[in-house]
Amino acid sequence: MSTATTSKNPPESAPADPTGSGVSFLRVLKSEWIKVTTVPSTVILLAVTVLVMVGLAAGAAWGTVQLANEAADRATQSAPSAGATAEAAPTAVPGAAVPTAVPTEGAGVPTDGAAGDSADDSPGGPPAASSLVREVPSSGVLFGQLLIASLAVVLVASEWGTGMIRSTFSAVPKRTPALLAKNLIIAVVSFIVGAGAAFISFLVARPILGSADLSLSLGDDGVLASILNTGTFLALLAVFSMGIGTLLRNTAGGVVTAIGVIFVLPLVATILQNLGDWISDAARFLPSNAGAQLVMAGTTAEGDLTQLQGGLVLGAWAAVLLITSIVVTKKRDV
């Protein structure tokens, strides 16, 4: 790269450029980073994502507190018989703990583990460190995935919408480095936003949960993994969505498609699940369902993918979309 990058007959009056030389992946990465940070709406959207995720987690923490208080009240009012708390808690869980969640497995919120787990907790005392509590920090991921998926589509598709892609691919005519750089940046940014928001959520949720004597610490089983994997989930989902945006080259179409695959398909699978076992079997492999397993902090329910399996399945989705989008983009005219 150090030689032969200037023209064969350098014009005499041409000002010498001391930095010289040509395209490298690091430079493309820097260029893409400048692009991400210089469109105000991107930065605003990322900030909003963190805010909403933390807000949602705070709500979930508060809901959990309500639930615990109700259970405690019932326990003191009725005769302190050994199963009362355990029976009361599971029935109230889905609605109260995750107030804004669509009560389905497919919505990407870890609701399913909660029911099973809190029942296992020792009767009488507060259900401390149940998976419900441990998953509070990551509960913002429901909304986070919506925003991050949209952002990933917009980041790439808007380049086609505005014509910017012609400048991008004129500067990087091999195209692959530009797309890889875009994906790497959205993945890292999404990871930081996801894990960061989950960690802030953890800090915000702790005092709220503490008011009902519910303890939550990073050392609790699965809590740290759940916080980090909130980032992993969003990063993989972002790459998946960016692939859709790159293939469709259209902001509106890309967002609708990404949201459709992430949110609507799991709902459709839930609605149709009585038509055959294979539907719910297959639905486990949908990107958002598989990804939801990543943020689980409890034991995996019978038949569900494990945390690792969920991550691998979502990773495979992301990889397929990334590779397809690069191969197709290299071939197509701009």
Partner: protein, 317 residues
């Protein structure tokens, strides 16, 4: 230096560029002239690798564009004023482009000054007028200080001062030894800027010649002559470079002969002439005629040979 060999581009049934071969030399301004939809932009997009040729190839400075390690330092292209994210500022757009090649912030400021964008550089490109957008496109093209500059309709939307500036800049870049390839659908624009002209119509090259030659060809006189014996008159005038078309009964349009010569020839042969009107032929007219009829393209390679059809009596130059 740009070399296209057998370059074709088809979109489905439609052939946008049809087996085009040409060379654009360094050190001069080469105009790329053709009506809208003639294939100018498609050809230029193929040069910088945005569109893939259906067949043929095009090299820039000896290599396909994408093979260069520092493409922006080889070729700077203004392809489309709207190749910029509307929400980003001009300065940040150029900074992002520059970053891919490690081009310094100094150079970014330099091209901003050079293109007169200093006062609006920090504003969002979405609010730019067509003319400012063109200037930003030109700034992007010059960013890598390239040895080859491609400008697609650069004066589009520019005010008169801007038009002069582009002309001056194109001439200056060529004078520095660079290859300058400039498209336009306006013949008049080309006449004032280009040294060499490549004319394209419906995807084919119609003419590829120094502009002086083309203008010289166009300076042939055309004369309208009304006479009762047009055939006799044409016979009398027969000679190299003289052509004639009978536009209606008794009305001849003669190209390549001065009015005085026509009058003398008529006098010699005792032919009655009752109208003799010299016609001003503009480049614009010739160009319009040149690009109007597809059939013309195949048999002609010089615009000045247009009038050959009909009762010609001395085809050729």
């Amino acid at each position: 230096m740009i070399e296209a060999v057998g370059l074709s581009k088809r979109y489905g049934d439609k052939t946008a560029v049809d087996d085009v071969s040409f060379t654009v030399q360094p050190g001069k301004v080469t105009g790329f002239l053709g009506p809208n939809g003639a294939g100018k932009s498609t050809t230029m997009r193929m040069i910088v690798g945005l569109d893939r040729p259906t067949s043929g190839r095009v090299l820039v400075n000896g290599k396909p564009y994408a093979r260069h390690k520092a493409p922006l330092r080889e070729v700077g292209a203004l392809l489309d004023a709207k190749a910029v994210h509307t929400k980003r500022s001009a300065y940040n757009h150029l900074r992002a482009m520059a970053a891919t090649h490690g081009i310094s912030a100094n150079r970014v400021n330099e091209v901003i000054d050079l293109t007169g964008l200093t006062s609006v550089a920090k504003k969002r490109v979405g609010g730019f007028s067509l003319g400012m957008g063109q200037r930003l496109g030109i700034a992007s093209a010059l960013l890598g200080d390239p040895s080859t500059v491609i400008l697609d309709e650069p004066v589009n939307g520019l005010d008169p001062e801007g038009v002069l500036w582009v002309r001056h800049m194109a001439r200056e870049l060529a004078a520095e030894g660079r290859t300058v390839f400039l498209s336009s659908h306006l013949m008049s624009e080309m006449a004032q800027t280009a040294d060499h002209l490549i004319v394209i119509g419906r995807g084919r090259i119609i003419a590829d010649a120094p502009i002086a030659e083309i203008i010289a060809g166009q300076k042939k006189v055309r004369v309208l002559v009304r006479t009762d014996s047009p055939r006799d008159l044409l016979e009398a005038l027969a000679g190299p470079g003289v052509t004639g078309v009978e536009k209606e009964t008794g009305l001849l349009e003669i190209t390549g002969a001065q009015p005085r010569r026509i009058a003398e020839a008529a006098l010699d042969r005792q032919i009655l002439v009752y109208e003799l009107t010299p016609l001003q032929v503009s480049l614009e007219d010739a160009y319009m005629e040149l690009t109007r009829d597809d059939v013309e393209y195949r048999s002609q390679d010089r615009p000045q040979e247009l009038a050959a059809a009909g009762t010609a009596s001395g085809k050729g130059k």
